[in-house]
């Protein structure tokens, strides 16, 4: 049942021009960043040759473009997620799902998975750019896998937050703006709080602050580290907001 809803979400996404525009714009920007990074790398290459433990092409090219993609997702995910619940309620199509023998959990997870599948396509397209160098350079596939995993988790966390915000309103555009604001506040506040707490030596509190700062959790991945704590933070954030979304929909059924 979850996959039925996920499939429907994916189909609706691809039927809308919005998804294609987002894909195109992201591809253009990430592609430009990729070419710039590649250019820089080629210019730096003679110097790098002389260094003892020089950073590889994966770290110098793939790392930054995944960072670019992460920043772009901060804008793109709220836009892609805005319709998920808000538009269904606005068009009164939610009734189809609510009258069907489907639980709220299945509805929320289905919608989340549908969006996550679309975001996975964005991540895959991003990963294809460094992969296109595979014939000409030796890539660090371990690091690339870490980057892909990190970006997928980051996108999932963004998607969960945006999905929850989409449950709160019937206006898709309001949902998009609020989701973006929420994510931005979380990223900035989480980062500031983390830094502030760490400066005072409260490391545990600083680590906890990382949970609400998804970009912070993505950083280790972009440096080629596989940080299980960072991964756990992203998963926790996604689960938390999915649970909130389910609660919110249940409350709406009770409240009317």
């Amino acid at each position: 049942m979850i996959f039925t809803i996920a499939g429907k979400e994916l189909r609706t996404l691809f039927a809308s021009p919005l998804a294609w525009v987002v894909l195109t714009v992201m591809q253009l920007i990430v592609g430009y960043a990729f070419l710039r990074r590649l250019d820089d790398f080629l210019q730096m290459q003679p110097q790098l040759m002389q260094m003892a433990a020089a950073p590889g092409i994966t770290e110098l090219v793939a790392g930054p473009i995944f960072g670019t993609a992460a920043a772009l997702l901060l804008f793109a995910v709220p836009v892609l997620a805005m319709r998920l619940i808000a538009e269904e309620r606005r068009n009164q199509t939610m009734v189809l799902l609510m009258s069907a023998p489907v639980s709220m959990t299945e509805i929320v997870l289905g919608k989340f998975l549908g969006l996550a599948a679309f975001l996975a396509a964005i991540v895959a397209l991003t990963a294809l750019m460094p992969l296109s160098l595979a014939g000409a350079a030796r890539l660090d596939y371990g690091m690339l896998a870490g980057l892909v995993a990190g970006l997928v988790l980051l996108a999932a966390a963004f998607a969960a937050v945006s999905l929850f915000v989409s449950c709160l309103t019937v206006h898709p555009v309001v949902a998009a703006i609020c989701a973006f604001a929420t994510l931005l506040v979380m990223v900035l506040a989480g980062e500031a709080a983390g830094d502030g707490l760490r400066a005072r030596g409260w490391t545990v509190a600083a680590s906890l602050a990382q949970v609400v700062s998804p970009i912070k959790s993505f950083e280790p991945f972009s440096k080629g580290m596989l940080d299980t704590y960072a991964a756990a933070c992203l998963v926790l954030l996604a689960v938390l907001f999915l649970a909130l979304a389910i609660r919110q929909l249940d409350a709406q059924r009770l409240r009317g």
């Binding site: 009164q92 009734v95 023998p101």
Partner: protein, 328 residues
């Protein structure tokens, strides 16, 4: 051993009956929004194969009730069971037996009719093997055979309404709840849809909410009227007609006598002028003064031009019941 099995035989024979007897049973259904009581203590019983007309002025709480019956809205108090399954305890099992067409059909404009019906069938857990057939049947029953590959967004209002109905019956539910299903349809389509509703009433039960009273008289077995969130009338259409039919006559007279003269005829309880030449004659209990009336009209040269039993229509009942409380 032998005696026990014969003892049990009749019990088994009567077993399906309680299940077949009522497909929806709602007791003490109440819904409040803050201080506002939208639906107050409604009790509703729908038997298998029955078409129930659900009437009421705008804002009477019909849609709220239907939302509760279909699990879209949790009731504040009361219980609902669908074919004996408690909707609040086992929502999935209960919802699988209901098909619902809300006031605004829940259509995805970017899907084709086939894709959409397929989705509805999947959501209602129609097994994969029967899905194609279920979609084809629903399409055929709603007159959508030609429209399978069209995008829902490009269909006319009437066709969209049909897709909405198809969606509600694709999983062959025991109960079909239709909120104003004939809105926006042309007269031919209305006839088709009414025939379909009657047909559905054969194997399923149907709750039909509408403002079109002749529609209710045409297709429903029973009527319930809601007003200010309460049930004010509940009876069969047949009872309504039998009860009132023939009790009054509309008499058109070109040269009318004073009403008192009419009222004085044997078997007439009262006579009042509706229009200058049209009288409503009320019968005394158990009497039928039609003959006497015709004879008197001929003998006294009243110029009788119309004689028609004034059935109390559903409209009279409706207006009577829902206007009454207005001063409050």
């Amino acid at each position: 051993m032998h005696t026990t099995s014969t003892d049990r035989a009749p019990a088994i024979a009567t077993m399906p009956e309680p299940e077949a007897a009522s497909t929806i049973s709602a007791r003490g259904l109440t819904r409040t929004f803050g201080n506002h009581i939208a639906v107050n203590d409604i009790t509703l019983e729908l038997r298998r194969g029955e078409v129930l007309g659900f009437l009421g002025p705008n804002g009477a709480g019909k849609t709220t009730t239907m939302h509760m019956l279909t699990g879209n809205l949790a009731p504040s108090r009361g219980e609902i069971s669908i074919c004996g399954i408690d909707l609040l305890e086992e929502p999935s099992a209960a919802k699988a037996r209901i098909g619902y067409l809300p006031e605004v059909p829940p259509l995805y404009r970017e899907l084709t009719v086939d894709e959409y019906l397929e989705l509805a069938a999947k959501l209602h857990r129609v097994p994969r093997a029967r899905r194609r057939e279920a979609v084809a049947t629903a399409r055929q029953r709603c007159g959508l055979t030609e429209a399978g590959a069209k995008l829902i967004g490009t269909l006319s209002r009437g066709y969209q309404q049909r897709v909405g109905i198809a969606q509600a019956i694709v999983h062959a539910p025991d109960v079909v709840v239709l909120d104003e299903p004939t809105v926006g349809l042309d007269p031919n389509q209305i006839r088709d849809i009414r025939a379909l509703i009657r047909e559905l009433g054969g194997a399923h039960s149907v709750i039909l909410s509408t403002h079109i009273l002749p529609e209710v008289e045409a297709v429903c077995d029973r009527v319930q009227i809601m007003h200010h969130g309460e049930l004010v009338y509940s009876d069969t259409i047949a009872a309504l007609k039998q009860f009132e039919s023939g009790a009054t006559l509309l008499v058109g007279l070109r040269r009318p006598p004073p009403p008192a003269e009419l009222a004085a005829l044997p078997g007439v309880a009262a006579a009042e002028a509706v229009e200058p030449t049209l009288y409503r004659v009320q019968f005394a209990a158990g009497a039928d003064p039609t003959d006497a009336l015709v004879k008197a009209a001929a003998a006294r040269d009243w110029g009788l031009y119309q004689l028609k039993p004034a059935q109390t229509t559903l409209e009279d009942v409706f207006v009577h019941l829902t206007r009454q409380e207005e001063p409050q």
